[in-house]
Symmetry: C2
């Protein structure tokens, strides 16, 4: 990789941070965890112990202290969405590059407000959408771009259902608290569905966004079930279903004129080192339609590093490049913004009785 | 089985009729093909030759002649949907039991008009939804009703995409001609999606029906792409996507609180004698969500008769029962009517800019 090692500060000790810290520790050549900040020193200490952080990691009793640390190049920010504006802005004003958990913001306006500070300070930004960095995703992209396989892509269906234990235990989860993560299942898991749909259509933006009827709210007032249809001007369709109320479904279906690509674990592969996807093409009916068959193949993709480590590695490569005099890679701002725009369009549609939002 | 052999007349030589005739010939103990009527004698003769019909099958140059034949107990009616009102009415008035291709009618009103004649004459009615009769369907129903497996069913997703060669060759297909089959993909393949969703929810009717944005029409004016969301009062959701514009997808996903049942060929099994479905349950996350796993099982269901033969067999059993003094089984009227109501609600929603239709 070359370049300087990137020195990370971590803002907050959320559960997801343990996954990222583990990933960072897999990258000793590229990443150094320099500091961890929490609202309480005890929490930071427990976090350091639980995650076997090296003894030289500085533990701070505030997020500000991490941002004031001159030895921190970049921050990983797993705070609740409602706190992103404040802390990304502060981090960027202190010249820290930002790896930000998703959903990146409650609204496009807040996102644009803190992205402006990030861009003004020539900092690298990346949202924490890990699956973008799995080699499977790159391989699937090649499949989708090969006109001989799936052909013209026409329907993308993304379904993410996971049991968040609603209503039992709900109030202890930040995702149930409107002022912290007001987007509920739309932000937490719909983010990935929207991203998959955008990714499949090469990040072209749809023309319209229409929520499905039947959205549900928790008693705390956040979405627990919702869905939406995205429509492109040329007739391509994206369909998203998300729910906090069922056993796991994590499915992506990319259906085209010649074949279909399907994934059963698109957000987080079941296994860390081996992920699969299926391609089905060239369906042929038997005489009198008594049966049918397609060419079907299961593709396995190995990875020596899990997708979250590949994400940290790529972010660090970009930061390192800036530390060596380069400029920020803008693609991550672009895709985060597009995802956020669609996410908020779904929310607007839900709030206006499923009216179609024209972008 | 016992009972009398049912004597069938076939109205029309549509492609689908060849599949049904083949099925009838598999049931020599229960079924006799007595007559075939076509608008041209040549077509009827070619049909008889192509399908190796016994020499004693009477070939008629009109549909009326079949209905006037006193040796015909029941008719199989594969005529275009736009002709169902006329010919089911005539058949019922002549005392013939009716096995009717789907979609059964262009509108609920037309359906009710001819069903009234069928019921007034105490005749058996069944719609040609073959998958209802596959032993896999009965087995899956047991899975869905077992509260220990899928648990409370919350999301049913039915996707049927098939390449109908639009626009090439489109005009030669009755499904592209509004006066014959005006419901397009909604009637032809959406019928099955709606039926699967209704079936999964034990034929309880939803509270609302809302079409998805992005429906497409062929240049002849019939639907080639559409989708809809069905919402039950208690929050259960059904999602349907259909398209004539892509390589085959024929997927059903029944997602519940504890697990998911999934089928890749719910309308027509890929293989005639062996069909499968998958059950995935009890998902567990690995520590730090670095992966996840579920109990997964593929179930194989053998059948000695294909589903269309099982359908004819069941219809014949019901007719035979009536011939022996019994009364019609009303369930098939009920499920056909419910399917038609939802189908037309989707159409109404499409025609009213995706307004929600409350049933």
């Amino acid at each position: 990789m070359g370049g300087r090692k990137v020195r990370f500060g971590i803002l907050g000790c959320a559960g997801i941070a343990e996954k990222l810290v583990r990933a960072m520790l897999m990258l000793p050549e590229q990443v150094q965890i320099t500091a961890v900040g929490s609202r309480s020193l005890g929490k930071a200490q427990a976090f350091a112990a639980r995650n076997k952080l090296p003894a030289d990691v500085k533990l701070y009793e505030s997020y500000d202290a991490v941002l004031d640390d001159g030895e921190v190049d970049a921050v990983y920010l797993p705070l609740p969405t409602g706190l992103h504006l404040e802390w990304v802005t502060k981090a960027a004003e202190k010249g820290k590059h930002v790896l930000l958990e998703k959903p990146v913001a409650p609204t496009v306006e807040e996102l644009d407000e803190f992205l402006a500070v990030v861009e003004r300070n020539q900092l690298q930004f990346m949202d924490g959408t890990m699956f973008m960095h799995h080699p499977r995703t790159a391989q699937m992209q090649q499949v989708l771009r090969n006109s001989q396989v799936v052909g013209e892509l026409r329907e993308v269906i993304a379904v993410f259902i996971t049991d968040l234990g609603v209503p039992t235990g709900w109030t202890s989860d930040i995702r149930g608290q409107p002022h912290l993560d007001g987007l509920g299942c739309l932000g937490d898991i719909g983010w990935y569905c929207i991203r998959l749909i955008l990714w499949a259509y090469d990040f072209e933006m749809p023309h319209t966004v229409t929520a499905h009827s039947g959205s549900k709210l928790s008693d705390t007032g956040v979405l627990t079930v919702c869905g939406a249809t995205f429509e492109w001007k040329d007739g391509r369709i994206g369909t998203m279903r998300t729910s906090f109320l069922g056993d796991m479904v994590m499915k992506g279906i990319c259906a085209g004129s010649k074949g279909t690509l399907e994934i059963d674990d698109f957000v987080i592969p079941k296994k860390e080192d081996l992920a699969s996807y299926r391609v089905k093409e060239a369906t042929v009916w038997e005489d009198r339609s008594i049966g049918w068959g397609s060419r079907e193949e299961v593709h396995q993709v190995k990875t020596s590093l899990p997708q979250e480590a590949l994400m940290v590695q790529e972010f660090s490569r970009l930061v390192s490049n800036i530390l060596d005099g380069g400029v920020p890679e803008p693609v991550w701002v672009t895709v985060a913004r597009k995802t956020q725009i669609l996410l908020n369009a779904v929310k607007s549609s839900i709030e206006s009785n499923c009216n179609t939002i024209t972008l």
